[in-house]
Every structure is written in C-alpha cells, then in structure tokens.
Symmetry: C2
Subunit: 430 residues, 2 copies
C-alpha cells in the first residue's frame, strides 16, 4: 500500500479520467456492478460471515450486528439500487446556464464532478456500495474508510466497485478502500487532493473530523430539533407530532429533542405529556410545565443543548413566538425545527424567521431526510450553509465549470470599446 499522499494523488488522477469519460461508460460500469454483486454473492457472504463471527466473539451489540450483517436479500436490494442508478441520466456536462457574451462567443456553465471524496463511515457495509455507486454516477473519485468490524466485507465490496470500473475500461483507482486510524489522520491533511469529507456516524466522529482538517466537511455534528407548540395549536395534532417526532426513531438526528410550549397551550399539556409518558418518554421540564405535567423531572440548563438520541424530551414554556425563535437560534443546531399552529400568521413567521436547514409547519421533524424529500439516494444531512444545506442528494457531489468558446476574441477589444458585450441569455441545451 502506498503512502496516503500518493494514494490520494492516484485517486485524483483516476477521477479525472473517470469524470472525463463518456456518461454511457459510467452507466455501463454501474450495470456491471449490479451484475457483480450477484456473481460474487458467495464470496461476499463468506467475507461478511468472517466479520460476523469476529463481531459475535467481540460481543458487538445486537443492533450493530444486524447492521453489520449482509444477506442475500440485502445484496439484491443493493443491486437493484445500483441498476436504478445506472438508468439515471448522466449528470456530468449538463448545462446549467448558457450566455452569449458576444456574437460567436458563448459561455456555458456545466455540471462537473466535485473531485475526490473521503467517506468515513461506521459499521454498515452496505454504505460501500451505496456511496461508491453514487460516486461513480457523479464521476467522483472516492476513498472509503469503514468500521474495523466490517473489514472483510468492506474489502470484498470495494473490490466489486473496482472490478466494475476496470471491466468497462475505466480507472479502478477512482475507488480505494483504506483501513485503520492512522491513514485517516494522514488523508485529512491532503487538502490538495481531497475535495470533500463526508463522515457518516456519531456526532463525536463528525466533530473530531471537523476539528482536524481544512478540507470541507459535509454533514452535521448534532441534530437538536425543536417542536414549537403555539397557543393556537390543535391539541390532537400537537400530540401526534410530538410523539412521532420523539418516538418514531429516537436515535435519528431528526428526532425532536425539545418541546417549546406557548403558555396558552399549558392547559392542554397534561394530556400531551401523558401520551409521551405512555410511549415511554422521560420528560425534563421547566417549572411552569412541570406544574401541569404529571411526571417530569426538572430540566437543567444543559438539557436545552443536549441531543439525547434516546426517549427523553426537554420541555420549556415560552411567552410566544419570538421567545421560541430566540430559544431555537440560541440552543438549536439549525438542523430541523417545526411549529404546530392553527394561526396562519404564526406559521408564516416561523417559516420565514427560523434560520435552520429545514423548517416545518404542522409536520413531524422526522420528515427531514433525503429519501422522504424525494432526492433519491441521500449522501447525508448538512447543517453547513456552504455548498449544500439540509438533506443532500447527488447534487451535493457536483460542482460546475465555465466553458467559453470563441473565435479568437480578446478582452482588450472590449476594454477599449471596440466591441461590447451582448450578454444574451440563451436556453441551456438539455
């Protein structure tokens, strides 16, 4: 194995060839990948069995074991996803904008691959194929670093990706797998040859990566999502949204962590609290809310900025919308925040003023997700304001280039007034 600077450089070079190839060849390599997942089924399941045996010996927790396991059905689902991607229109070279600068001088803005991605993910080996195939579709190079528990599975899956590229005459080195912590630390320094880091895992993983690299990081460290229950809220709707937001999948980043309750809603809070307690939720509330809740511990200051990732919900009373928005901006993570209100003015203002990646009215925070948004495959959810915000699909793996075609025009002629720009917008060529 080469050193990491050389490895990153080799992925950059391979990526340039992958990105410049005809889209039909990238499609063909995806079709081939889907076939390989079937052809190599036995070997893939064997490799995964090795990981499972080691993980069982190591007493990996049952939910993690389930995530680690590859089955024939999972491989088939993966292959179907890849086949679907193979049929997608090629995004590379798509015109975003076309302008005539002058007669015979035409500028086009076209989509292009972002470059080289470094993906750091935890145990689920399916991610190798899901992310690797998205990278192939978008002409990107990708360096994949999975969890140690899935070493054998990841190796076998990375080999499938590389084989699919090579079989269609594309550079296999556009996809590389790496293992261990030291290589990652070294790769995070290769800002000349790696364009984007996508960490998929715990907030701790994301924060530790963000603080140790100058490469842009796509993702979110925390999801401290709020549901603001206005005085005008329909009590039954508020109850449904609170229970779903907290209980549908408490470990998700889009789970509701704090309920902000308008004073005027307090008379209805008792039954809302009962529904949450019945669903197994522990409540931590301020004094005003505790006065009407039957079963709540006192909330401490740190509860307002905690992502529980568990069936625990913080509850705070607010004087009104302004107070709620101020709380969200102060304690939130700008991931997803929702209002439940019958008053249309309140909903409008909430949607306009809350400065988060996703802002909802009368819907559960749990909808913040690339698949639910209809983006197809999801790369991740970004709380950054730069490049991509909120749930990110393939778009987040693309950038653009400006292509100008002329007939020998020089800038001096426009500076001197000999010629002038027309700047005529032309329809992009789809």
């Amino acid at each position: 194995m080469p050193g990491m600077p050389e490895l990153a450089r080799s992925v950059r070079e391979a990526q340039r060839r992958l990105g410049a190839a005809e889209g039909a060849r990238r499609s063909a390599s995806l079709t081939r990948l889907a076939a390989l997942l079937d052809e190599h089924k036995a070997a893939l399941l064997d490799a995964n069995r090795e990981d499972m045996v080691a993980a069982e010996k190591g007493n990996l927790a049952p939910p993690l074991l389930r995530r680690l396991e590859l089955t024939e059905a999972k491989l088939q689902t993966l292959a179907e996803g890849v086949s679907q991607l193979a049929r997608w229109p090629d995004p590379i070279g798509k015109e975003l904008r076309r302008t005539e600068l002058d007669s015979g001088l035409v500028l086009r803005k076209v989509q292009s691959p972002l470059g080289v991605l470094l993906i750091i993910f935890e145990s689920r080996p399916d991610a190798v194929i899901q992310i690797g195939s998205l990278a192939m579709r978008s002409g990107n190079g990708v360096i994949l670093k999975g969890g140690a528990e899935a070493t054998q599975s990841n190796r076998a899956l990375v080999d499938c990706l590389r084989e699919a590229l090579a079989d269609e005459g594309l550079p296999a080195d556009a996809v590389r797998g790496v293992e261990g912590r030291e290589p990652v630390a070294e790769l995070l320094q290769q800002d000349d040859d790696i364009d984007l880091v996508i960490p998929r895992g715990s907030g701790r993983l994301v924060r530790s990566i963000q603080s140790s690299t100058r490469i842009p990081v796509l993702g979110h460290a925390e999801g401290i999502c709020h549901l603001y229950v206005d005085g005008s809220a329909d009590p039954a709707m508020a109850r449904r949204l609170a229970v779903d937001g907290k209980c549908d999948y408490p470990a998700a980043c889009n789970a509701t962590e704090t309920l902000l309750v308008h004073r005027a809603f307090l008379p209805h809070l008792t039954s809302l609290g009962r529904a949450l307690t019945a669903a197994g939720v522990e409540l931590r509330a301020d004094d005003d809310a505790r006065a009407v809740l039957e079963d709540a511990r006192p909330a401490a200051e740190e509860d307002w900025s905690t992502e529980y990732g568990a069936p625990i919900l913080a509850v705070r009373t607010v004087a009104g919308l302004d107070d709620a928005i101020e709380h969200i901006h102060r304690y939130g993570s700008a991931h997803t925040d929702a209002v439940v209100a019958e008053d249309e003015q309140v909903r409008r203002r909430f949607l306009r003023e809350v400065d988060s990646a996703s802002v909802f009215a009368n819907a559960s925070t749990r909808f913040a997700d690339g698949f639910r948004y209809g983006l197809g495959a999801e790369v991740g959810i970004s709380t950054s304001r730069i490049h991509a915000r909120g749930p990110v699909g393939v778009d987040g793996l693309l950038t653009s280039r400006w292509l100008l075609e002329g007939q020998g025009q020089v800038a001096g002629d426009y500076g001197s007034g000999k010629r002038s720009f027309t700047h005529r917008t032309l329809p992009p060529d789809d």
Copy 2:
C-alpha cells in the same frame, strides 16, 4: 468597541432580522443608500482627502493612490450601481424547487441569505459600497475590514451603509467595520457566527487567511493560467490570444502565465515571440522553444508554477494535447486555462478534460471575470470546488432552506406503510 466574539454575534442577530424582513424594505434601504452617497458627498470626500494626504506623506505608490482616491464621479458611479441593485428582484425566498411529498404535504426549497460574511480587502474604498450593497441585497450581514490607508474613507462609507439600513427600520448592526490586524485574527476564530470569508487582495493575503481559519474562504490564492497552442492553431489567432492574455492587464489573476506550445506549432513560434517581445514581454522558455525564439531566457522548474503578475511569460514545448493537459493539472491553479486550435476534436477534448474553474477554446484567458460573464457584480473568483466555482456573483452569497408545510402528518405512517409518498414535482412559484 465590543470584543470580536460579541461583535460577530451582534452581526448574526442583526442579519437574521435583515434576512427575515420584507424584500421591499431591503430595496428601500438600497435606494436610500444611493441618496446618502450624494447627501454626504462633502463629508465623504473630506474623509478621503485625509487618507490621501496621509498616503502621499507615506509615499504610497501612484497606482495605489489612484485606487485610494474617491472623486465625485466615482461616488456617482457607486450610487448608480446601488440604485440598479435596488431595482433587482429580491433573491430571498425565491423558490428553487417544489415537491408534493403527499397530498397536503408540500416541500419547498427556497433561497436564503448565507449569513454573516467577513470581507477583507485592500486599499480601494469603493469596495465598501460595492460589497456592502450586495450584502444588503442578499440579506447577509457583513463585517468589513479595509486597508489602513483608507481608514477615514472606509469609516465614512460604512456609516452610510448603516444609516441607510436604520433609515428604513432595518438593523444597522448587520454592517460593521473593523480596523487593524488583531480583530481580524480574532474574527477568523468565530466560525459559529461567521459563515464565509472573502479576501480580496494578493495571493499572500488569501493564503495567510486560508491557513488561519476553519471558516470557508471564497477566493483564489493564485491564477496560473495557461494558453495551449495546438499544432492546428491559426498562427494569427494564437498571437492575438497570447498577447491579450499576457498584456491586457498582467497583474490580473486571469492573465496568461504559461504558453504551452505543440511541437508542430514551433515554426510559427518565432513570429509569436516577436509580437510578445514587441509588447514588452520577457520570455522564459525551454530549450526547444528557445531554439526558435529570438529573445528568451532559459526557464527553470519554478517558472511553471509562478504567477508573475508582470509582463513575463513562461513558454514550454509539449508533445501534444495529453502532455499539455498533464502540465496544466500538475502546475496550474485550476483558475482559467485556454486552448487555441482549429481542430475541433482538440477543442472538444480540452474543454472536456481540463479540470479548471474556467476552460476556454479560442478565447483569451482574460475573459474569466464576473462582469464579462454577465453576472453583474462580482464577489470574487473562486478556485474552490465547493459552493461556488469561477467568477462568483450574488449567487455565491446565497444558500437555501427547506420549508415543509403539512396538516399534521407524521413519519411513522409512512414507515408503517399506512401512507406512501407521492413525490410529485410541482412548478416552483416565481
């Protein structure tokens, strides 16, 4: 003056109010700004005269003195630019995408301000108004740090921006000026409250900022732009593009720094070299090129990666297109690279394979510029692949939010199969 963390936080809070205000009020504040530039003309020119006197005493170089000077005509041009911006359609809230997720559950992706910008620029005080007004138009907060030579002018201009906001009931603190190096060093640490740094100045300034902050930086440290002269190039066109690319404005980042010459073009290189020499250009060439050039020094390895910013041009002979592209990827800065060729296949491959922000065929590298591209005001030119690439207009100061409006829908119903998504694309509401 408060500490920098407090200052950045106060701009963030003011920006949220500015961004959430009606677009008509942002327009009105721009109209007011144009009027203030006239009303405060005498005070602005007085302040500038103070800077000019100090600069003359300090023996500032004449080109810098010209950049520093404000005149009545310059103020009028600035006011006209601001008035034009006041009439632009408000970009905030513009729908980029609208999807029905299910009956009565509609998702919209809307444009929103990026947040808080930190602009670090050198002597030209006009930049305060140009950038400040772009920030107001796009609902962003802005912290402006200008050059020490322009202290009085910058203060007076920042006061105009703040007064224009306050006069329309918008928060003046969305615009703040700072002075000196220490505040900048401290501001570069405020990654919670500053979203983007835009350095406008030398490559050294940009590099020093890039290496001292975790906040994303929009810009480019270097412009090492190439012109590849193919064997099929029309000699007269090649000459024109080389002379314009190098001589139109040698200090610009989009000036041509290296000429890559196909062996087959060497017979024509003598007269091309003569034209460059006649225009006052010093040539530094490899041996093969020197054999036909009448007046060229030998090039050293570092010439291939030097941005001269001066009438000096490196010349290298290449075996063909592949060789040229390899050179560009190895030594270039991915800013702007051009080919001159009559062979359409060569032009196509160059446009497809060169991985730079701007790639040109038969046009001068000097066209890489936001105004020439028809983007209106230019924020800067980015060589980053993330967020914005190449010349960047107002778009680079915008991001998006996802707004979901429902009627109490919960995610659990879709997970359980009780309901399913329609994911119907709807036309965005313009």
